[in-house]
Amino acid sequence: MTSAPPNAPPTPPPNGPLVEVREVEKFYRRGTETVHVLDGIELEVQAGEFLALMGPSGSGKSTLLNLIGGLDRPTRGTVRVADKRIDRLSDRQLAAWRSRHIGFVFQLYNLMPVLTAERNVELPLLLTRLSRAQRRRHVQLALHVVGLAHRTRHFPPQLSGGEQQRVGIARAIVTDPTVLLCDEPTGDLDRKSGDEVLDLLQALNREFGKTIIMVTHDPHASARASRTVHLFKGQILAEAPL
């Protein structure tokens, strides 16, 4: 997983933090009412960090993750990832940027039930110029890293929850993205499977140097991170480095 991303030249290490969120506000209009989801967020994440974002439901942690992942834009403020200011990019530019720099892991795995594990993992590689053989090699490697090299031809319904989430992680890392964003990755798993997934994320961080930002409200999960940031009502309350 230390090889260059398959679809772009390697990103040079940023001069400052890998992720930089400055004075970010996000609000929605619901009828005549304005709902503030994020309010004056300041956050920095260094390359190689494993950050946990914690907070109760509605605290804005998933919204913050979406902003860092380029799935949404802030109402005010700036979001910079790997020296690129992403809050000003067009939809098309953002899509191309996400395909190169971001890997997402979702709470409910979000695999395509009609595709085999290897076909699911291959999906992000369809956006690259890699040949079929090259894509296959990357897929095999990613599935090997998550310990599912023997389950390539299985469809998601034939896999356990933990295995499905590991396929989801393989899909997220197959393009060797700059940042791995995980939204409650253990939220739908039992303790044992959750631990296996957390072990895997920790290994990706420690052994392969992956920068990981993980949203969770499980203290057991956040304990695996190198730093925890707490959000409450759209504001950062405190940081708890380990």
Partner: protein, 384 residues
């Protein structure tokens, strides 16, 4: 190409629903093919009608006879190159359901005016020498298994023989083919001189004339001259181009084109709703998955393309299968057992059908594709 398995997998997601939608599209295109072939059959000859030929009949009705002597007078009219005549015989071969047209004609001028009937030279010579000789088109010969040398008995419904009998016997001396695909090869032609000397009544009279003009540009003027020549006589004429006559003949059962368009419009509107609903439902069910694809970096344009490709693939496959099935069924033969002189699916209609299939895919996929394109990722992921 690399997205093909994604398209295929999506279509296999709900196999029963996809199969039923596909089947409805296949049936619509079989109907399209059949109606196109029926339209060709009912407009028989219009497409291959000679641009330089006029059809001259009695002004009152085609059922009224005209004097055979008009032929010589017509050939003297400026602009007329050649004239010949034919008469409706209306006989029955074995059983009334074995319908095919029979007509007495003057062989030499007839074959000269109708080069689209291809008759081998030896068979042509045989016809000119055999007084009771007849030639028949390939379709009818194949239908009844006739071979050259067969004696064909035809029961007259109009033309009683001089001896009071109604059974006419003809020696099959030739089998003609059509020069073009739309050429009618169901007809039987026999010699007018044999007809004239054998019939009991109507001596010296014929059903209509076929006239070749020297310059097709002058067809209307020559037709006017022919009608003027016989105006105020006991047998006034109505001359018109062969194409106009055949179109008028076809319209006797209604405006076929409009009827067929109306039926097809109703069918395709229904299919539009069925296929459109399938696509819309399919995309709605996959909102979360589409959101994930966009999160990975699929662009709005790619999402639009994926959904449109899916709907075009479904309707294209249905259209291709339907048209292929129609082609096969139509090739197996005319379902009316010979009532349609020609029955085939023209290439032009095949191409129209394929175009229609593509258009169906684009129209049914347009709305779901736009929805997929405009999907906000954060909203889509919340729906998983």
């Amino acid at each position: 190409m690399k997205y093909l398995h994604l398209l295929g997998s999506n279509l296999r997601r709900k196999k029963l629903r996809t199969s039923l939608t596909l089947l409805s599209i296949v049936m619509a295109f079989i109907l399209f093919g059949y109606l196109a072939a029926i339209r060709v059959g009912l407009n028989a000859g219009v497409d291959v009608a000679g641009a330089d030929r006029l059809f001259v009949r009695h002004r009152v009705s085609i059922a009224q006879l005209l004097p055979e002597s008009y032929r010589a007078r017509m050939e003297r009219i400026p602009g007329v190159a050649r004239a010949t005549h034919a008469t409706w015989f209306g006989g029955i071969y074995q059983d009334p359901k074995n319908f095919f047209p029979q007509m007495p004609v003057d062989p030499e001028p007839f074959l000269e005016l109708y080069p689209e009937y291809i008759l081998p030279p030896d068979q042509r010579r045989a016809w000119l020498h055999a007084r009771t000789g007849a030639i028949v088109g390939r379709t009818t010969a194949d239908r009844f298994g006739w071979r050259i040398g067969d004696r064909i008995p035809i029961q007259a419904t109009i033309w009683t023989k001089r001896d009071g009998s109604r059974t006419w016997e003809f020696d099959l001396v030739g089998i003609y083919d059509g020069a073009a695909r739309g050429t009618d090869t169901t007809q039987m032609f026999f010699r007018y001189d044999y007809f004239e000397e054998t019939r009991l009544f109507g001596k010296g009279q014929v059903g209509w004339f076929n006239v070749r003009v020297r310059d097709p540009e002058e067809s209307a003027e020559v037709a006017r001259r022919i009608d003027a020549e016989f105006a105020n006589s006991s047998y006034e004429t109505k001359a018109e181009t062969e194409k106009a006559f055949l179109q008028g003949w076809a319209r006797q059962i209604g405006d076929i084109g409009t009827i067929i368009k109306a039926i097809l419009s109703a069918v395709f509107f229904t299919i539009l709703l069925v296929a459109g609903n399938t696509m819309a439902q399919s995309v709605r069910e996959r909102t979360g998955e589409l959101g994930v694809l966009k999160a990975m970096g699929f662009t709005n344009g790619q999402m639009l393309g994926l959904v449109l490709a899916e709907s075009c693939f479904l309707s294209g496959l249905g259209g291709a299968l339907g048209l292929t099935a129609a082609w096969g069924l139509i090739g197996a033969g005319d379902p009316t057992q010979g009532a349609l002189a020609v029955f085939y699916l023209p290439h032009r209609d095949l191409l129209t059908g394929l175009g229609l299939a593509l258009a169906l895919g684009l129209v049914t996929g347009a709305m779901p594709a736009l929805q997929a394109m405009r999907l906000r990722i954060a909203d889509a992921l919340r729906k998983t």
